[in-house]
């Protein structure tokens, strides 16, 4: 099978093409801003999908890692004058360590207990960010200086669009690589049958921890970059509702589908924009989408559509 014809390269090429061509359709900076948020959410959700869709775990607190990434960068650059690159690296490293430490005890749990534990973690992070006003500025948030790389400042929607776009293609590439590898298959085996995976010699705890930390890193990196892009962060970035938004994107777009995750992020980032004028109904619509998707399309949009297409061919 030619390496260029495989679905993974085709998909990556299509994604890259969309990212490159999209600016032709974006009339002003506001649209670029929406596109950037789509990209940010997509990257976070690609990571979260590895955890939920492929490895079969659940996290209702992932926005906590996003928020920690945002605030570690914010605090280190705004309060201590660190260089944004260093702050990003140290911040993400810190989040990885935290994720690693909590992963082992938390991932021993299953189902509701796992959901509750991740939820608890996320809420504790949000409360700390809200309460430690001296450090974080409290509920009113804090200002974050722009991102600069060796003296060159990253500023403006158009620049950030290309940065986020490139990162998205990179993130999708990384995810696809992992999935089709012994590491990825071991992770998916944990979801398929944890006992059979163990019998095959897979250290299931190790892989659960690995995918948990990996998805936390995706979230933290994007949290940090979003902080610099927006120039401002609030504890809402770590909130329970934000975590649920991420989960909804995974669920809607497709469990165990990298491109599904991207689609889910795009649709749900776009939704509030489409509902402008109907903001009041946004929450109700959100809840409705969650319920209806899980009841009627439990595998998510992209896998369900792909399966329908395949069935029509056979």
């Amino acid at each position: 099978m030619s390496v260029w014809a495989s679905p993974r390269t085709g998909g990556l090429a299509a994604l890259a093409a969309v990212i490159v061509l999209l600016p032709l359709f974006l009339p002003n900076n506001y649209y670029y801003d929406v596109a950037i948020h789509m990209g940010v959410n997509a990257i976070v959700v690609v990571g979260l999908n590895l955890l939920i869709g492929y490895a079969g775990q659940i996290s209702l607190g992932h926005a906590g890692f996003f928020g920690l990434g945002a605030y570690s960068s914010g605090i280190l650059t705004a309060n201590y004058g660190w260089s944004p690159v260093l702050a990003l690296i140290i911040g993400v490293l810190g989040v990885s360590v935290l994720a690693y430490l909590v992963a082992r005890p938390i991932l021993r749990l299953r189902g509701h207990y796992l959901a509750m534990a991740t939820l608890g973690l996320g809420i504790i992070i949000a409360i700390v960010l809200n309460t430690e006003e001296g450090l974080t500025g409290g509920p009113d948030g804090m200002v974050v200086p722009p991102f600069s790389l060796f003296g060159w400042e990253l500023y403006g929607e158009r620049t950030w669009y290309w940065v986020v776009g490139a990162l998205l293609v990179f993130a999708v590439w990384l995810a696809l690589n992992i999935i089709d590898s012994p590491v990825g298959r071991a992770m998916r085996a944990v979801h398929g049958s944890e006992v059979a995976a163990q019998v095959a010699g897979v250290d299931t705890t190790h892989y659960k921890v690995m995918v948990f930390v990996m998805s936390a890193i995706f979230a933290a990196v994007m949290g940090s970059l979003t902080a610099h892009y927006a120039g401002f962060i609030t504890p809402a970035s770590a909130s329970f509702l934000h975590s649920i938004e991420f989960v909804t994107m995974v669920v809607l777009g497709g469990m165990a589908s990298v491109f599904g995750a991207v689609v889910g992020a795009v649709i749900l980032t776009l939704l509030p924009q489409l509902l402008s004028g109907f903001e009041d109904y946004e929450m109700a619509v959100f809840g409705l989408i969650l319920m209806l998707t899980m009841i009627f399309m439990p595998k998510g949009l992209v896998p369900t559509i792909l399966a329908r297409l395949r069935r029509r061919d056979s």
Partner: protein
Amino acid sequence: MSLLQVEGLSKTFGGVHAVEGLSYSVEPGKIHAIIGPNGAGKTTLFNLITGIYQPGSGHIYLKGQSITGLSPHALAQRGMSRTFQNLQIFFNMSAIENVMVGMHMHLDTRFLPALFRLPAAIRGERACRAAALELMEHTGIARYADTSADGLPYGILKRLEIARALAAKPSLLLLDEPAAGLNPSETAEIDSLIQQIAETGTTVVLVEHDMKLVMGISAHILVLDYGKKLAEGTPDEIRANPGVVAAYLGGEEKGPDEP
């Protein structure tokens, strides 16, 4: 030296003695069978040996070393593999991916080369896939390689699980009811597959209800009843054992109200 040795093994579930004071050994290179009426404790014994249950008391030795209480994952590394009575197929993957997971211990599982799709990782993937395909050919299911496991018929899935277990290159293979739910021709295929496996030097222990299969291929049979050893020996010895006959058919020892 026995390959596997069980001494005084006991396991209780809330008052029920699933396995009681069982001692048993498995010689290398032969096909062993464990039989007994429903509820005799066969699958419990399997689960104890393969680390899924912790024994209440007793010891288990593999190649002379104690493996009592080790996890399934540790046991896999010592050369033990098994299939399951209720299929534990990875339905979220294709058939060949199932077998490729079986090879996990023999693969390069480093994270970074996989993450960045380094040439070594690509080569490894290709080799892994080729080896898995070969294994599937041996078990007669190669044409289902890229089919999603959740679309495969039951008989194929039974063989897939065996292929996956073989992919680990075990020295001891435990098969939990490999012929359950199969029709006679499928059972005959499993029969010859098991014999082929034993010929390669892998020691096989199977739990089975199909007496024709068991008597036909086993060198040694252990009979369990109510969690205890009822008899053990060659097929001929077991066939002639009156206690065994009584346990299966219900003899004078049992009252009319007992199952």
